[in-house]
């Protein structure tokens, strides 16, 4: 693919572009074959495609990837994700098995192959994009691997040549108990095939203590092979992306592709990125240090808990301060007010201690101090639910995190009742959401309960569209929506309508 484009710039750089040639342009132009449904994307495409195909295929794949990312942000289980993705995949990126006798096998696999490589170009430029790309591509790969038939999967695994050593009979006897303990509940593990690999090859199995480790080797049951294949996929992709990134400057010279690629990468946004300082603040609200207590009734549970902890202890630990500072910044509390707020809240420490230990962090969060990039970027963005749910779980004595996730049920109920939610049905629903790890759902359930009347009114009077009432995945969105709903009629409706 893109042969012409590369050839156009090739002549003047032929001497220095060895790595790039390897990466993109195979001079042999040999017709690619796709014996397997799955692809490790080791060989770049070489045939020509039109500019329209180039763009359309990439957009189709991007749609899939963005949707996958959204699934993970919404904490969908693998099964839920699979069923959610099924119709979308069929529409945008179908990939039939060898047994399907579909006549489109080649076309499907070619599109899959090409679109992957186009997006590689689009997302290789920054580390952040590369990380996200490899994460969602891995999700897609895992999804497809899981639905592969056993025979096709085995054939594919054979083809990628994972070298791993079978565990001998002797060793299996020696470590019988250990292997049994990691084999799960399957009774017939005598028949299980085991092989051993360097533990680094299966970091996720190690992290979850799902394999027996001995002297640096992980003893992997054959059914976990999928996880190894996935790890291998990610690893190879990450390496390839690094190479692509290094080749990118050359590509800048192609003025036909650059705008397309640029556009693609800009469109790779997700709920996580949807926080925007200019639209998250609420017009007309009194956002000041002295009003935070009053405003806190509009806060999601995580922030209410931080607020209550702060009022109770006159102190919050580091991550609690960070999470809460950024949230308050997001609702529109300016730096000056923020400093007033924290100073008055930490009323047990001296001015000196405050200035020395806390002030800097607040200023840093606002981009008032720090390295160039921090100041340019205006500090940090408020944390999304995704970030709060997955990063830095609270340790002893810490109040940050997501109560729906990080509290046990009893403490969660106490907290909910403490903020005035004692409806049995709601509490029961929250429990179910928590049990099935749908923390967003729990939070949204509470939101809907608290704002039941207002939501109904807003819908009936057409003040807010259903798009504006979709699942909340950001604490600041929670605040904004809560404030607007509770002040229906007080805030000008045009302002409301312009949101979102």
């Amino acid at each position: 693919m893109l042969r012409q484009d590369y050839n156009r710039i090739d002549p003047k750089r032929r001497n220095v572009l060895d790595y790039r040639k390897k990466q993109f342009a195979d001079p042999a132009y040999k017709e690619t074959e796709y014996p397997h449904r799955l692809n490790f994307y080791a060989t770049p495409p070489t045939a020509d495609i039109t500019l329209e195909q180039f763009e359309q295929w990439a957009i189709d794949r991007l749609r899939i990837l963005a949707e996958l990312e959204a699934c993970s942000f919404r904490n969908k289980s693998p099964a839920e994700t699979a069923s959610h993705m099924k119709p979308l995949l069929e529409k945008y990126l179908p990939l039939d098995s060898n047994t399907s006798s579909s006549s489109k096998l080649f076309a499907e696999r070619q599109k899959d192959h090409y679109s992957h490589f186009i997006l590689r170009l689009a997302f290789a430029s920054t580390e952040d994009l590369r990380r996200r790309f490899s994460r969602v591509e891995t999700m897609l790969f895992r999804l497809r691997l899981n639905e592969d038939t056993l025979r096709e999967r085995n054939a594919f695994v054979q083809s990628i040549n994972l070298d791993c050593e079978p565990v001998t009979e002797e060793e299996r006897n020696e470590y019988r108990d250990e292997l049994a303990a990691t084999a799960g509940f399957r009774k017939n593990n005598e028949d299980e095939l085991w092989f051993k690999v360097d533990w680094e090859r299966v970091p996720d199995l190690v992290e979850g203590r799902r394999v027996f480790l001995k002297a640096g080797k992980a003893y992997v049951p054959s059914r976990e092979q999928a996880s190894m294949v996935v790890a291998e996929f990610t690893q190879r992709l990450e390496r390839a992306l690094e190479l692509t990134a290094r080749a990118l400057p050359r590509l800048d010279e192609d003025d036909r592709l650059t705008p397309i690629l640029d556009h693609l990468s800009k469109n790779f946004t997700t709920p996580d990125a949807s926080y925007n300082s200019s639209t998250s603040s609420v017009p007309g609200a009194d956002i000041s240090a002295r009003n935070v207590d009053a405003l806190s009734s509009h806060f999601p549970l995580c922030m209410q808990h931080l607020h209550r902890s702060l009022r109770r202890d006159s102190h919050l630990k580091h991550f609690g301060r960070l999470q809460y500072t950024l949230f308050l910044k997001g609702i529109g509390l300016n730096l000056e007010e923020s400093l007033v707020f924290w100073r008055t809240s930490f009323n047990k420490v001296s001015d000196d201690t405050f200035n020395k230990e806390y002030k800097y962090n607040v200023r840093h969060s606002y981009g008032d101090v720090g390295g160039d990039s921090n100041r340019r970027g205006g500090g940090y963005s408020p944390f999304s639910c995704q970030k709060i749910l997955t990063e830095h779980p609270p340790g002893p004595g810490e109040a940050h995190g997501c109560p729906y996730r990080h509290f046990n049920l009893e403490n969660l109920n106490t907290l909910l009742q403490g903020v005035g939610i004692s409806d049995r049905a709601v509490l029961q629903g929250v429990k179910q959401d928590k049990d099935s790890q749908k923390f967003h759902m729990a939070c949204n359930r509470v939101f809907e309960y608290v704002h039941k009347k207002e939501i109904q009114k807003a819908k009936e009077e057409g003040i807010m569209t259903s798009a504006q009432l979709e699942t909340i995945v950001h604490p600041n969105e929670y605040f904004k929506r809560s404030y607007l709903l509770k002040n229906l009629g007080k805030v000008k409706t045009e302002d409301v309508k312009m949101e979102g």
Binding site: A70, T126, D128, D177, E178, A180, A181, T182, W199, E200, V206, E207, G208, R209, F212, L213, K214, A215, G216, F268, T269, T270, P271, A273, S274, N276, S277, T279, K317, H318, L322, K356, E357, Y358, Y360, N361, H364, G367, V369, G370, G371, N374, G377, G379, Y380, S381, H392, P393, P394, G395, P396, G397, E398, A399, P403, H406, F407, N408, N411, G500
Partner: protein, 519 residues
Amino acid sequence: MPHSVSNSPPNDMEQIMGDASPQNGDSQTTDNDIPMAEAEETPTATDGDEKKDVKLEDLFADVDSDDEFPSSKPAETKPSSSPEAPSSPMDIETDVKASDPEIMRMFYQRLFPWRHLFQWLNHSPTPTNDFGHREFALTLQGDIYLRYMSYPTSDLLRKDILSKMPSRFEIGPVYTTNPRDRKTLRNLSAFKPLSKELCFDIDLTDYDDIRTCCDKANICNKCWQFMTMAIKVIDAALRDDFGFKHIMWVYSGRRGAHAWVCDKKARVMDDQKRRAVAGYLEVIRGGAQSGKKVNVRRPLHPHLSRSLDILAPHFQTDVLESQDPWSTPARAEHLLSLLPDKTLNDSLRKKWDSSPGRASASKWADIDAVAKSGAGGKSLDTRTLLEAKQDVVLEYTYPRLDIEVSKKLNHLLKSPFVVHPGTGRVCVPINTKRLEEFDPLAVPTVQGLLAEIDGWEGGGGGGGAGAEEEGKGENVQDWEKTSLKPYIEAFRGFVLALMKDERDPKVKRERDEDEGMEF
């Protein structure tokens, strides 16, 4: 999905807010509230700026020989200690603070094992990028924190430390380029951490909800046993499971310990692998509100069965007997909250209410006794109860790691052998072969060590030593005159073994049995 704001977090966000901050739990402040200034933010911290405060005598002291461990005469400014008892650290501890610049200077000048530290980080006797591109972070008086310092040689590090006199310094990763040059790079993403020891940080403050003898920064030998257990469990897993060999445990100077896993394989691990090791070892999860802190699958993973084997005896003596963790009804209620059966709990509660002050060991025994007598619920089966009890043992003994330290390649950790400014104790390596004997309260203090040099009499011969012995005394280095000696020798042995493996990784298999830290 709406507007792409791409308010992408600035590059240094992680560094400042997360990883890079010096989160070893021994900072003087009450929690992790560390001043997080970058070097360029602090006006007083620019290179060469400290000159104005340097006293004349300090300048002279600075031009001292380049000799690693100069055998020096007692300095005049030294606090006087009574001549009869030169070796007792307690004498002067009350008089002079460890952070006194003069004390610190003498320590860095005469006792700190610069050459071994260099070799340890450099992995070879001649300077390489492993040392030259290594980040050091210095905490100066007045809480100024200098990051991204680096030094081509051991000597330049020593000189800079002596001129800046940090109260402590930390060690970070080896970077792709010299950390000092990072600002001149056109492309900042080219400045990346490449390698660092895999580190662990365990701090007794994380045990506050289960230790009854002390809290916060205080420790005693009773609660230090938690650290002993932690080291045993983590050390065993790192060696037996992951196959690491070069593991150094270091006392953090007050209430904790650090582990440095120095094997090359460990140093080059990326964050994902570090996270994997951390996750493998992490068992105690959840904050103050999370209730039950141990949630592990059954059958128990071999690492957990082994840990339980190690921990069970400690649970009996160091927890039940010496901590008596469930002496009050409120504390006993926490134990009950971890048990699976309501009827059993009611019976136990009744029994304990009727004999106030019943010892924890008895209460623990009551659980089985009451269950056997049938006073537990009918539905209660022995396996469920056993598993709950195992979880209790784990909650009260399993290592509580400050796991963030282990997860990130670019996390900084306090250097071994620096002095804890609050206690004056030196961060010495801990001999894991004689772990039970380690007494954190008896670790040498900087004041005591300096007094030992003063009081040194050429090998204890007193005034009557022969000429030959006296002559030998001239070459004795200062650290050899002190109780720091066994620790420095152990460190040297550790570093030599590491360098040997580094040089010749092939032969290491045959001779790795005795590579523990020898004292």
